[in-house]
């Protein structure tokens, strides 16, 4: 008989389950991703996708450059068997002398591109407009699921070289900066079902 002072007991299985589920909760999945098809490529709409927020936005407003990585995965089944994966990198910064909240963004390409004087939502739109997935190899009647993952690159670890030799901060290595991650999902879909939109140029 359980002791009254111990209250509700949590079994080891529940702790194990909680441990397994906890990392999944960080990848907040949203099902409202809008995908369009121009005949050659899939494009994503920035409607409902907001990633300039949280700690990364604070870092931006302090004048740092924040690197975002947008990863698109296409799956044969609900987010298990991936058959296509594309990664784009964006470097965002906040103009401290801009009028209002003004951002600049660049992508290493190829080809490298850059835009300045963008609003917060304009920056998010600019980034997502450059994310495209070629549909070559995908049959028009093939059913697939799409996942967009947006994450920040944590600040770099300290340089290990100093005037006195080489120094490694063990605590910093064991507790690196947290990356921010957001996941957006949609599916199932088929190319033949998608209305065609006019092609976009990056």
């Amino acid at each position: 008989m359980p002791e009254p002072s111990r209250g509700i007991q949590i079994s080891r299985r529940r702790w194990l389950l909680a441990g397994l589920v906890a990392p999944l909760l960080r990848a907040r999945a949203s099902e409202n991703l809008i995908v369009t098809f121009d005949g050659d490529n899939l494009h994503l709409s920035s409607l409902g996708v907001h990633f300039l927020q949280g700690n990364s936005l604070s870092r931006l407003k302090e004048g740092s450059t924040v690197e975002y990585i947008a990863t698109i995965g296409l799956f044969r089944d609900p987010y298990v068997s991936q058959f296509k994966r594309i990664e784009h990198h964006f470097f965002v910064s906040y103009d401290v002398w801009g009028t209002g909240d003004v951002f600049a963004v660049s992508t290493p390409g190829p080809p490298p591109r850059r835009a300045t004087n963008l609003s917060l939502s304009g920056t998010e739109t600019w980034c997502l407009e450059r994310v495209a997935v070629a549909t070559s190899g995908i049959a028009h009647d093939q059913q697939f699921w799409l996942q967009l993952e947006l994450r920040t690159v944590p600040p770099k670890l300290s340089s290990i070289v100093s005037g006195g030799g080489i120094h490694l901060d063990v605590i910093e290595v064991l507790t690196p900066g947290q990356e921010e991650r957001q996941t957006f999902r949609t599916g199932p879909m088929r190319l033949e079902d998608m209305p065609r939109v006019r092609g976009r140029r990056g």
């Binding site: 450059t65 906040y94 401290v96 006195g164 080489i166």
Partner: protein, 420 residues
């Protein structure tokens, strides 16, 4: 030789690694108006004030960005260097609008750490005549206290190769920031080069015996007399287990004192650094020691930097009287003094008189040097030796070829590694 080439490739890649791209930050077009450094209960505006919380080198680096365009990658580097020097938990930086249009203020905020754990490689050196030398440690820092445990194998600084364990405790602020205390303990196993054992057989009376191991304890206290001048006093208790069947243990107990002076001067386009130090180690009968000797050393180092160019002159000398253990005898022909000469060739037992001068010219990472020096024993004639060398030096990474100037065949010595 394979390791030498491998080292060349590694160092080359480090020296010529691509710099960080500052084009990704829109604020790179603005000019830094001032740099503000702040911590718990203190703030320093480096445009109008100075601080002694950080080294002069880092202070110069921070003030050097005033008037320059913002380089976000370099700000990260400066924040990392501040973190290391101040043993901080975190140093963040922010760019905010300055007083004048298109100008910004850079603010560094230091958050102190309760404790930190670091792994340090203080030296790693390959010398084609003497092999590898290196030292590393794990250090735990809590406030002004440091406890460290390290491993050493060194064939560069003394006539022997000593390998073993070092431990130290340091309190960088004993009641006041002007006084620090350090206690070091060492235990080393010793290996002798064949040249040293031959020289010892030929000359067994004038120097201390060969030993197989040594242990030492060394408490020291350092007092800042006035800002650029420090005085260190302490003692060293050392035991040597001699080679041979009897394995006699001999003692060398010394008292020591040293003075160190450091001054920096800075103009609009140049910087100068001046260092001078002198030390005295004395083991007398009063201390009930087997070795009775006095060692005096003195050195002056001057550095002038202008743009990418640097000129350095380093003079050093030592004078030893009495019979000292081999580990305390003077050495030239290593990675610092009279580079290019092999110490096992010119002074396999070390000497009791030495004088050395090095002149170096650096242009960016390129380095050229000319060393001159002499090492001898009291009864011997003085022979002046010279060497020249070329190399690359970037931060702590060094790669050099040094050639002794002498008649006959040319035998260059190749050196590379991490040197503080």
């Amino acid at each position: 030789m394979k390791s030498a080439w491998l080292g060349c490739l590694l160092l080359g890649s480090l020296l010529f690694a691509a710099p960080q791209d500052s084009d990704t930050n829109v604020n790179a077009r603005y000019t830094v108006e001032t740099v503000i450094l702040s911590g718990k209960g203190w703030t320093t505006n480096l445009q109008s004030e100075t601080t002694n919380k950080i080294s002069l080198g880092l202070l110069h680096a921070l003030t050097g960005i005033i008037g320059q365009k913002v380089n976000p990658g370099y700000l990260d580097t400066l924040a990392q260097n501040l973190k290391r020097e101040l043993s901080a938990r975190e140093v963040t930086h922010r760019i905010v609008r300055g007083g004048a249009p298109e100008h910004v203020r850079v603010e560094f905020e230091v958050r102190p750490a309760r404790a930190s754990v670091g792994m340090n490689i203080n030296q790693f050196l390959y010398n084609s005549k003497q092999g590898f030398s290196g030292s590393g440690e794990v250090a735990v820092t809590t406030g002004p206290n440091v406890i460290a445990l390290g491993l050493v194998s060194n064939a560069d600084w003394t006539p022997e190769r000593y390998s073993g364990i070092v431990a130290r405790y340091e309190d960088k602020s004993v009641g006041t920031d002007r006084l620090s205390f350090k206690f070091e303990a060492e235990t080393f196993h010793t290996q002798w080069n064949q040249s040293t054992t031959y020289a010892m057989e030929a000359n067994p009376q004038d120097v201390g015996a060969l030993y197989r191991s040594r242990q030492a304890f060394q408490p020291t206290a350092t007092l800042v007399l006035f800002q650029p001048l420090t005085l260190t006093v302490g003692a060293r208790v050392e035991r040597f287990q001699d080679e041979g069947p009897s394995a006699t243990v001999e003692a060398a107990d010394t008292v020591m004192a040293s003075l160190h002076y450091h001054q920096s001067f800075e103009g609009a386009a140049w910087q100068q650094e001046f260092d001078a130090d002198g030390s005295l180690h004395s083991a007398t009968r009063v201390l009930n020691t087997d070795y009775v000797y006095t060692l005096r050393t003195a050195g002056v180092r001057y550095e002038y930097r202008r743009g990418k160019q640097t000129v350095i002159d380093n003079v050093w000398g030592g004078y030893l009287t009495g019979i000292a253990p081999l580990s305390d005898r003077l050495v030239l022909g290593n990675a610092e003094y009279l580079r290019g000469w092999n110490k096992y060739e010119i002074d396999p037992l070390g000497g009791n008189r030495a004088i050395s001068n090095s002149v170096e010219y650096h242009y960016g990472p390129l380095q050229a040097f000319y060393d001159a020096g002499a090492i001898w024993d009291e009864s011997q004639p003085v022979v002046a030796r010279h060497s020249v060398g070329l190399g690359l030096r970037e931060s702590v990474f060094s790669l050099a070829v040094a050639i002794p100037i002498r008649a006959g065949r040319v035998e260059p010595i190749f050196m590379m590694g991490i040197l503080p």
